[in-house]
Symmetry: C2
Subunit: 693 residues, 2 copies
């Protein structure tokens, strides 16, 4: 590998001592040379990095470093000890995913640095430059006089070159379930944005200047830049705070109950800090940088891990037909109702039935900071779990168990072995976990180091029991599903349930931003597939509604990637539109290939995917509140092959607001040479199945 470097040494001689300062600069580039990284240690020992894309500044020279609280140490003045460089080009196969194999190609630069004030403390900053961006992390090697330490603050900066358009949600230690705001950097006001949100159960806002990662920006010249992180293990989530004067974001780690950020022991490392950059929005969506920076699977035999589609009575509870607690006469998780879902799942080819509200404790589960809420092994008396297990087994269906912790994680951790053992005894191999409410240990946050360690413990312990995990209200994923492929999906963003939130709901643009932000980290259990848009079906006073067309709901099964997809609506709503429901039945949840055909954040996304082990392709196209026509490039189809394309389109008069359930279904033979255009209604979409003939 060719490395360019410059070394400037300046020496001064004072009356008492000879002091030798040097400015050292190292650079490396992406394999395709378009992205260039510069790292420097200046005359006073300050460490900085900068990034360009085809000569355009992406990150201006930005500081790196820490403040430690134990030992008390400002780790921000360094002496360069050594530099290593290397290149990697390899291909690996995920257990499941959007593509069958992934190329991991980067040039690496690793600087070993010693603290100027405490020379016994050394840190390695490792940079990897990919064709789609940069990842870097701090590594703390084993060293005799630096073993246990406590991070008070991480000072990693991301200094922007101009006042970019930005897609952001407020920085918050406990929730990521916000709608996105689109403003200039200089217009960010997280406190004002958070104040508009009335439907989030628990907020812990950081300040007006704090926003969450993944953070998307678009420059005036058309570059797409994403700030994020990968492989958050044993470390808190990194939010960022903006210094508007310098247009510089600085890491804001989530504190623990006493204000510390992370308790670490050498050898260790931080998560990767990432800057994904492209001049094409579609390339950013196709980036595998986050996955490449995660460690390979720790599950030796993943044969028991299966992507799956499921149904359940969850949406009944949201729209007022049923409820979680036994009391009140609307208990959803009763034996007869679950049987109905099992029948429906079996008839229409689903894998699982999610059952919420099955276990004792829902009477006072929320809002009391109560520790002993659920025991995870005691069904309500009207829920005959053994009979249902047998009934499901006969029909080839698995129940999916819900473990709502109510945020009482100490309680869950005490009971996890018993709970997972109970699941296995009931032949249940998928758990949906939930963390609604304030965390216990009290003072901890959903996004802190302690909770991130908890989510990891859940993934690891579940794997011991061969259980797959779908976590809700957890910190947003950072590619850990590569390492723990039994951790199929997370919620960790505003999902479809907010269609029932009265204040802001889900805007039509929301699902066109998610793939550019939250979903860069991993699959989302968004729960698409709502066919009935006005949510006053059971409570006539209800004013909430779904702001999409029905066709867009179908398209979301493709545009929002997840190996675990819920068809969220009620069986009776699907039975009204069985022809449209056919797409939900057909669409796979595991893929051999994915092509992002068109995308613009906040406007539209068009994605095509090829089913795992299949020659069929599926396409989803969605738009924001605007109707639009998008050319449909079909060159992903196999050369020489003809496909029967089934189009699930918005009807001509469809409109999310006035006529959401209007759709048309038509079929057409196509080849890769076919020239077609897709028309999407306001808040609309289109789903297509391409069946190879």
């Amino acid at each position: 590998m060719k490395l360019l470097y410059f070394l400037v040494t300046l020496c001064w001689l004072s009356a008492l001592s000879a002091v030798c300062y040097s400015q050292t600069t190292r650079t490396t580039s992406s394999p395709d040379k378009r992205i260039r990284l510069t790292v420097s240690v200046n005359a006073t020992g300050e460490l900085a990095y900068a990034l360009t894309f085809q000569g355009q500044p992406v990150v201006q020279p930005s500081a790196l470093g820490f403040t430690l609280s134990k030992p008390a140490l400002a780790l921000n003045r360094f002496r360069l000890v050594s530099v290593d460089s290397s290149r990697t080009d390899e291909t690996w196969k995920p257990v499941w995913g959007e593509v069958a194999q992934i190329r991991n190609q980067y040039n690496e630069l690793a600087l070993r640095l010693a603290s100027q004030t405490s020379p016994a403390v050394q840190v390695v900053v490792r940079f990897r430059v990919f064709n789609d961006g940069l990842g870097f992390r701090y590594e703390f090697p084993q060293q005799p006089d630096f073993q246990h330490f406590v991070v008070a603050d991480e000072h990693t900066e991301f200094r922007m070159a101009a006042d970019h358009q930005t897609f952001w949600i407020p920085g918050d230690y406990d929730t990521n379930e916000y709608l996105y705001n689109t403003t200039k950097l200089s217009e960010i006001d997280a406190v004002a944005a958070a104040a508009k949100e009335k439907d989030i159960a628990l907020q812990a806002i950081i300040g007006p200047d704090a926003v969450q990662t993944p953070l998307l920006m678009k420059t005036a010249s058309g570059l797409y830049i994403s700030l994020f992180e990968a492989a958050v293990l044993n470390y808190p989530v990194m939010h960022v705070r903006l210094d508007k004067a310098r247009l510089a974001f600085r890491a804001q780690l989530v504190p623990d109950a006493v204000g510390n950020k992370a308790y670490l022991q050498t050898p260790t490392q931080t998560p990767w800090r990432t800057v994904i950059v492209s001049d094409k929005a579609t390339d950013l969506l196709a980036s595998k940088l986050i996955l490449n920076l995660n460690e390979p699977s720790r599950i030796a035999d993943p044969s028991w891990i299966k992507p799956q589609k499921f149904v359940g009575m969850w949406w009944e509870m949201h729209v007022g037909k049923a409820n979680w607690p036994l009391a009140g006469g609307k208990h959803g998780a009763n034996t007869a109702n679950v049987k109905k879902y099992i029948d429906f799942a079996a008839q229409y080819g689903f894998d699982g039935v999610l059952v919420e509200g099955w276990n004792v404790g829902w009477e006072d589960w929320f809002g009391n900071w109560k520790e002993d809420v659920f025991d995870f092994v005691t069904p309500y008396p009207d829920y005959d779990i053994d009979a249902l297990t047998a009934y499901a087994r006969q029909r080839g269906i698995r129940l999916i168990m819900h473990h709502e912790t109510s945020g009482s994680v100490t309680n869950y951790e005490r009971r996890m072995d018993a709970a997972f053992g109970y699941m296995r005894s009931k032949e249940i191999n998928t758990v949906k976990t939930g963390y609604v409410g304030r965390i216990i240990p009290r003072g901890e946050h959903h996004d802190g180091q302690w909770m991130n360690n908890h989510y990891q413990r859940v993934a690891e312990k579940a794997a011991q029991y061969k259980i797959m995990v779908d976590s809700h209200e957890s910190s947003r994923p950072t590619g850990l599903h590569r390492t723990y492929p039994n951790w199929l999906a997370s919620e960790a963003a505003r999902g479809s349930e907010f269609n029932n939130a009265p204040t802001l709901g889900i805007t039509p643009e929301h699902t066109t931003i998610l793939p550019f932000t939250r979903m860069l980290g991993g699959p989302m259990d968004f729960t698409p597939g709502l066919f009935h848009m006005r949510l006053n079906q059971f409570e006539s006073t209800r004013t909430t509604r779904v702001r999409t067309t029905l066709a867009k709901q179908l398209a979301l099964f493709v545009t929002l990637y997840s190996p675990l997809q819920m068809a969220a609506d009620l069986p009776e709503n699907y039975l009204k539109y069985l022809d449209a429901f056919q797409f939900v039945r057909d669409v796979p949840v595991d893929w051999d290939d994915t092509r992002i055909l068109a995308a613009e954040p906040g406007e539209y996304v068009m994605t095509a995917r090829k089913g795992k082990g299949s020659s069929d392709w599926f396409l989803g196209a969605i738009t924001d509140e605007n109707s639009r026509s998008l050319p449909l490039p079909l060159d992903f189809l196999e050369a020489g092959a003809t496909y029967e394309a089934t189009f699930y389109r918005d009807a001509d008069n469809a409109d999310w607001d006035t006529n959401p359930e209007a759709y048309t279904i038509d079929k057409q033979r196509v080849t890769r040479a076919s020239k077609l255009t897709l028309r999407l209604a306001k808040g609309g979409g289109c789903a297509i199945r391409f069946r190879k003939l």
Copy 2:
């Protein structure tokens, strides 16, 4: 039951409304009429209580009440709803203890009160007046509009009548391992006292005015008053802060990580607040008020619970012969060394051998606030636990397992099932738990509600596994060994290990105060029995030493009650004094009767106990730094019987400072009519076995 009460009602008529204020007073007395309680609700709704002993004020009128943080409510103005009174006189048998049966006799007064500001909130204050003092608690009955609530502060007061002599240790959220200070109330300065302590691993001082309970006072007229609490379950420890101007102590509950004190759900209650009072010091030591206020045993079949005496290599580690970690060449818990202790235990009739440092993790166990410290199931490679289990079984000995948590309680709770299961698989049925260091969940304290719930969980889970518990660094006991008789003992005070602490060590008076304070709550694993007083045996530079005579060490086996007694010294030190060691071999750990023959806090204690199921009596007498002669009343011996009394006395020239190991042993026939005097050396003591002939 005869109840005296007064009711004064005053009504004013204002221009706008008729407001009716009443001052209500209720009184009741102890069954023997010597103690009298007065409870009043004054014209503004303030609730107060007062206590007298034979007409002398013990507690001046003192406030009762709370501030709640959720719902936000000052619960300090009440309307009296109803008053109930009753009397109880019953006898119960402890599973083990100082006496074979206990009389529980009291008069009860229960006031049901409604909050003036939130009438939907009702509280019952229940008072029980015994012949030896008062217990009262707050009860929160189930009520429709008051379910979950959070205690911000408890305002219970104890207002003293004069500037009493007081035996106190500094109020501290994390440790109770202080030496006692003896001052007037007005001279209390807890910060200054705490600053003198250099050998306590972790301190969390509350303020100059804060001291711990049990708190002992002596009035100028010779009353002994103890402020304490009983049955601390699901609630933090109560320390007290002194308002010197009013001579009033006010409850200072231990906060959690966010500053709240307790999270409660109706129906619930606080622990009992207690005032033990007597004009005889010996009666205070004999009080069973704390036990009587605890609930009966929750262990249906306690047949597996056995008081026991044990040895172990723990003291080797303190004096520098051995160490806990494997590294360093002095690993104490190696197979050969443990075999030696098993042999010694078997030869001299002990039940168990405590093994500390047996498991991996001691290399960096302390001071790092590290969460994953020990796993409790991985022995060091030089410790062959299976071979030792078999070796011990052949000799009728049980190993005692050590679970040091390092304060990382989340880690322990995750692993407790596995750890207790592992113990059972190794035929080990007693665990010594340890909580050295800062608590995890971070921000919690050893004495907070969360940790008190943890200690209870340990007792309960251990009972499921038929395991007995000896907890160290836990909050001080409050009689819960009645409810959980498998919780044999706690440390929870300055124990014998501090003989090796260089700064203050253990003063000769310390063990004459412990029975008046810490030990009112329950057995202490003090670990007496040190025979070698100058602790430079293995490290010649060591200056620490034991400040007692050898005879006093023997007497401590009687004066410091515990069903779990360690003979703490090294076998080689016992082999030097086998004639004296005979007393340690003979002394029981369970008793049918106990008589406190003489006592003055800070000066001397003389206690006689009758062995369980035996006709033999054992006596211990100890003194402080002063030599003294005490008459020996023998009227506890059976009438008409003759006993062979074996006296283990200080030699004439014995002195804790100059000649600590000098003792004499002599035998004498005695009856209850014998008139004898015991001479105790400076820092000395005397142990006697009375064998019925």
